[in-house]
């Protein structure tokens, strides 16, 4: 701690911070632009000027940039000094000289940091009478708008895009007052984190293009804290609604998970909620070949009730890794644990539970994204992070800065001094080893990369583990290349202070997952506190593994044997989980197929009854992310007519059937009831209720409003339907209210619906919600980590190292090639995504292609799960010989991959 004096009053601050950060943490309103807690200081905007005094006698003082001055002990500054204030107002005035008269048509208006800072400095009247500089804009693709006239040249965008996220197709161009931020030519921003420009740019240069078609000001959005549903990381988001449709996703700060940033899949994938293909009413299909007809809710419940009551033992429930814990549990209770299937194939369910088992067994604990950023040596085994867990890739890029920081520290450069730090580190990156079946641009900072088939990747893992600890089993017949690579990896990991091993389900290989565990365990055993991070396929994959249940194949065979004939499917498209033939057979054999889901898909096309389930925006629930952290997401807006949470539908079914097996279930009225039942029923969820405050929670007796205090149109928006303003809809499940009335201060962190503070309308009001700017939130409740393995020391290594991969003469091992845009089932249905989803492609090694006489762009025929497909071929030397990578988009799923298939060149007509 350091003692500093601000305007003649003493304060204690952290001496590792700069004065700007320290002052903001103390609650002062000091304007700034270019500094960002995650990006550090460069002193580009000159906005944060304060007066610094040498000592008590010094009355003259001199202006310094607060963001470039360390908060050293004894520092005396004045924020209120007239000269400093005038200086700051002048800086704004200079920026405004060229600023366009755009606020009314600027998407940033009402949440603009420039507006806030202008008001804060007091600059009000324009004196500049000359012409304004103008720029032409660029078309930056489907996600981001560009309006360069509004730029104040703070350089935040380019620092985020290039320095932080590693993007290459964006830069600052020109000089003096002609500096331009954009691409070298019009075109889609390629970086997977481009959406963060929306929040990082303090002006309206970059805004959310998906918001524009239904543009709404921040004050008019009804918002709720949510959790991203599009991968297993569980980034925290704020989702906003207006007039019954979901309008945008913003980042919600979580110190240990996503910090300040989201990936573009998470930010722009929300459109499926508003999709034309939503199931909005209960429907039934009187004849299997016919159309569905809408049916009244009570009627369908009356019809299904007796069916469920008559033969409870003949019902099979199929859960889903994209449904909440509560909904899955409700289904499990309705049908009973013996007839509850996870909705995953034996293989996929197995992979998830191996990961769960490894994390539980220890000794290596699971890493949060924050832990990943702090790691100083990283080994990635089998994951293409940028596509399977994008935000994690961004964190790994930061981890690569950890080791060069030693040089920086030695030179005495404070870590927030971004320009100096990057200069000192000078494109040095810490150790990052990527072993994956194919390459992505993300490997540009890798120390070494190794591309091989999954079995060979696992073998590398085994050898590395053996290098670290001779007691760990190794692989047979190790070739010298792998041997020496493994030695180098082991040496680096062994010397690191906070090594990390990342792996996951992307290779669909048990051995890869196990070998990663062996490496981390070997490190732990030899005294290095290594952490493990696994990426799973979906938002609740780990939660479902904890719940436990039968595989899809078992469910199929139960129906096939005639032991059950009624199927209740929860938010799951079976054709993404199993091959089409067994899916068809299963759905055909079952006498009644009831599906609860949000969107129409191949499975719903075969359902006898469809019940409309709420999406993440229309329901509350808990998801367990890849590190085992249970996090609550909250309903954003009242769902239309018949749409309700899946667990409520299941409860209604239980009530309608007079459910004999589970009398408790019929008494479930609120989410808390389900959470309680779940935490009592299954020990691992004992602490589930701690993930979020219960419904009864109040701030000074009040609920927390989802609408801002300046929410507008209340007496007009419903007027054509109803002259008398309807009462706010009651929310029985959470302490949040669908209203603008309620507690206006800061609630505990899981309940923050939007960031706002007096004078701070932009997202940077977040500063006021943190106990220390850039640190944890006040009253932080980070969710509950349901798996902790600390303190366990015994290590039992996995022993089954696979044999080396053998290429076949006439077949190729087709591996799944996941795509950030297109693979995730839900976000792929968002209209904004369409342009970014690649077409189906098969990636092949050029030499393999040569033996087949393929040229790039030509099409090949391949056989998967008894079906033949034709896809264009792309050549890439990183693909291991004897394998080929198939994009998992549109109709292609990873259910039957990896699989061997011949490749036959299609003669184009």
């Amino acid at each position: 701690m350091a003692g500093i004096i601000v305007d003649d009053r003493p304060y204690q601050v952290d001496e590792r911070e700069n004065l700007l950060q320290a002052c903001l943490s103390l609650g002062f309103n000091l304007p700034y632009f270019c500094w960002h807690p995650a990006l550090g200081s460069v002193g580009a905007c000159r906005q944060c000027a304060v007066k610094q005094f040498r000592n008590e006698q010094d009355r003259q003082g001199h202006l310094v940039m607060a963001c470039m001055t360390p908060a050293a002990d004894g520092t005396r500054i004045s924020i209120e000094d007239p000269e400093a204030k005038t200086f700051r107002a002048s800086v704004i005035e200079w920026m405004m000289a060229n600023h366009p008269h755009d606020c009314p048509v600027c998407d940033e208006g009402g949440e603009c940091h420039l507006q806030d800072m202008t008001v804060m400095t007091g600059h009000a009247y324009r004196r500049f009478r000359f012409n304004k500089r103008t720029f032409r804009n660029q078309d930056l693709g489907p996600f981001i708008t560009h309006e360069m006239n509004r730029c104040i040249q703070c350089y935040r965008c380019v620092r985020l895009y290039r320095d932080y996220a590693g993007g290459r197709d964006f830069d600052a161009f020109g000089s003096r007052n002609h500096v331009y931020f954009g691409r070298h030519e019009d075109g889609t921003l390629e970086n997977e984190f481009s959406g963060n420009l929306v929040e990082v740019c303090p002006t309206g240069v970059f805004d959310d293009k998906t918001l524009m078609p239904h543009y709404t000001r921040k004050w008019d959005l009804q918002t709720a804290p949510s959790v991203c549903a599009h991968c297993s990381l569980g980034c925290n988001t704020i989702a906003g609604e207006r007039y019954g449709t979901l309008r945008r996703i913003l980042n919600r700060y979580h110190n240990e998970v996503n910090g300040y940033f989201l990936c573009d899949r998470g930010r722009f994938g929300y459109g499926f909620v508003n999709s034309e293909e939503r199931i909005r009413r209960p429907k039934s299909r009187p004849s299997r070949d016919g159309q569905t007809i809408p049916i009244d809710k009570d009627m369908i419940l009356r019809e299904l009730g007796p069916l469920l009551a008559d033969k409870p033992s003949r019902i099979i429930g199929i859960g889903s890794p994209r449904a909440s814990l509560e909904s899955n549990f409700a289904l499990r209770e309705l049908v009973g644990p013996e007839r509850f299937s996870l909705g995953l194939s034996v293989r996929d369910a197995g992979l998830n539970s191996i990961i769960l088992d490894i994390l539980r067994r220890g000794p290596a604990p699971s890493a949060s994204i924050h832990d990943v950023e702090q790691a100083d040596a990283v080994l990635i085994l089998g994951e293409d992070l940028i596509n399977t867990a994008p935000r994690l890739a961004l964190a790994v890029r930061q981890s690569a800065r950890q080791q060069p920081m030693e040089i920086v520290d030695k030179l005495g450069i404070p870590r927030w001094h971004d320009a100096a730090v990057r200069e000192a580190a000078h494109a040095r990156f810490g150790p990052l080893f990527i072993a994956a079946p194919y390459s992505s641009w993300f490997a540009d900072i890798a120390t070494e990369t190794y591309h091989a088939a999954p079995d060979d990747l696992a073998r590398l893992g085994f050898v590395v583990a053996h290098e670290l600890d001779q007691a760990a089993p190794t692989a047979s017949t190790v070739n010298p290349t792998i041997g020496s690579l493994a030695k180098r990896i082991a040496a680096v990991l062994g010397q690191a202070e906070r090594p990390l091993v990342i792996s996951g389900t992307a290779c669909k290989s048990e051995a890869v997952i196990q070998s990663a565990a062996n490496v981390a365990w070997a490190l732990c055993k030899t005294g290095t506190p290594a952490k493990l991070c696994y990426c799973l396929p979906e938002s609740n994959s780990l939660g479902l593994a904890m719940l436990g249940g039968k595989s899809l194949e078992e469910a199929f065979s139960i129906v096939k044997n005639g032991a059950a004939d009624t199927v209740l499917i929860l938010e799951n498209d079976l054709y993404r989980r199993a091959d089409a033939l067994s899916g068809d057979a299963f759905l055909k054999t079952a006498s009644k197929v009831i599906i609860l889901d949000t969107l129409e898909h191949d499975t719903t096309a075969k359902a006898d009854v469809l019940l409309p389930a709420g999406t993440f925006a229309e329901s509350d629930g808990t998801l367990v992310n890849n590190e085992g952290r249970a996090q609550r997401f909250y309903q954003v807006f009242p769902a239309e007519a018949d749409i309700q949470e899946s667990w409520r539908w299941i409860r209604d079914l239980a009530v309608a059937s007079g459910h004999p097996a589970q009398p408790n279930m019929t008494a479930w009225n609120t989410l808390d009831d389900v959470v309680l039942a779940l935490s009592e029923a299954i020990p691992v969820f004992r602490r589930l209720a701690e993930a979020a405050p219960p419904e009864k929670f109040r701030m000074i007796g009040q609920k927390i409003p989802r609408q801002t205090h300046r929410f507008t149109g209340r007496t007009s928006m419903h007027a054509p339907l109803l002259m008398h303003e309807p009462k706010p809809v009651k929310d029985p499940d959470s302490p949040l209210a669908f209203s603008m009335e309620g507690y206006l201060g800061q609630p505990p962190s899981p309940l923050i619906t939007h960031y706002w503070a007096p004078g701070w309308n932009s997202v940077q009001a977040l500063n006021k919600f943190q106990s220390e700017v850039g640190g944890p939130l006040r009253q932080e409740n980070p969710g509950v980590r349901l798996i902790e393995s600390f303190g366990k020391r015994t290590v039992t290594y996995f022993t089954d190292a696979p044999k080396p991969f053998q290429a076949l003469d006439h077949g190729w091992l087709i591996l799944p090639w996941y795509q950030i845009f297109g693979t995730d089932e839900l976000s792929a249905r968002a209209s904004a995504m369409a342009e970014r989803i690649p077409g189906p492609t098969l990636m092949l090694h050029p030499e393999d292609a040569a033996t087949l006489r393929f040229k790039a762009g030509e099409r090949t025929e391949l056989m998967l799960g008894n079906r033949s497909h034709r896809v264009p071929v792309k050549l890439d030397a990183a693909v291991p010989r004897g394998t080929a990578a198939l994009t998992i988009v549109s109709d292609f799923t990873d259910a039957v991959l990896p699989a061997w298939s011949p490749l036959i060149r299609v003669a184009e007509p």
């Binding site: 009314p104 304004k132 500089r133 003096r176 709404t216 507008t712 149109g713 007009s716």
Partner: protein, 171 residues
């Protein structure tokens, strides 16, 4: 007694003063131009809708009786897709007019809006939009603003220099 007579005398005198009551509706009263009556949406001097859908009127409205949805034409010009004022809630405070950065929304001298059915007091854009500029002739927001719209390229607004040529090597 004297007081009483004085009162009667005064009343008598009043019989000869000019009446102040106006025989509305046969006689229309004078209303100053800044009278705050029925709200309209005006057009700019070029005949285009002035409203850009900025939501400032709706946020200024103390009774929240304005609701709208902004949209954009294919050339980037913003306008309200729909715009609704519930006059059964409006208190004619004029805050919306004061907040409007484009002079689009204006209060007029019309106050004769009685209806038997409250629902008829809900005015949609068709009911609000007039064909002229209203009280404020001359002003066209898009001629001042820096955004490009159909018929106005970058650099063509008032007080704008032509766009920077990024490929130029001149210092």
């Amino acid at each position: 007694m004297l007081k009483l007579l004085k009162g009667i005398w005064l009343v008598f005198l009043h019989a000869f003063t000019r009446p102040v009551t106006i025989q509305y509706p046969d006689v229309k009263p004078y209303l100053p131009p800044r009278w705050r009556g029925r709200i309209i949406l005006s057009r700019d001097p070029d005949g285009e809708e002035r409203c850009v859908g900025c939501y400032l009127c709706s946020v200024a409205c103390p009774v929240d009786c304005i609701a709208l949805q902004a949209t954009e034409d294919e050339h980037g010009r913003r306008y309200p897709a729909w715009f609704r004022i519930n006059f059964s809630r409006c208190i004619f405070c004029g805050y919306c007019e004061e907040a409007c950065p484009t002079y689009a929304i204006q209060l007029t001298t019309d106050f004769e809006m009685s209806e038997y059915d409250r629902r008829n007091l809900v005015y949609e854009k068709e009911d609000l939009l007039i064909s002229g500029t209203g009280k404020y002739p001359g002003y066209n927001f898009y001629r001042v603003s820096g955004v490009q719209i159909g018929g106005k390229d970058k650099g063509e607004a008032e007080h704008e220099a032509s766009p920077i040529d990024l490929r130029s090597l001149m210092p």
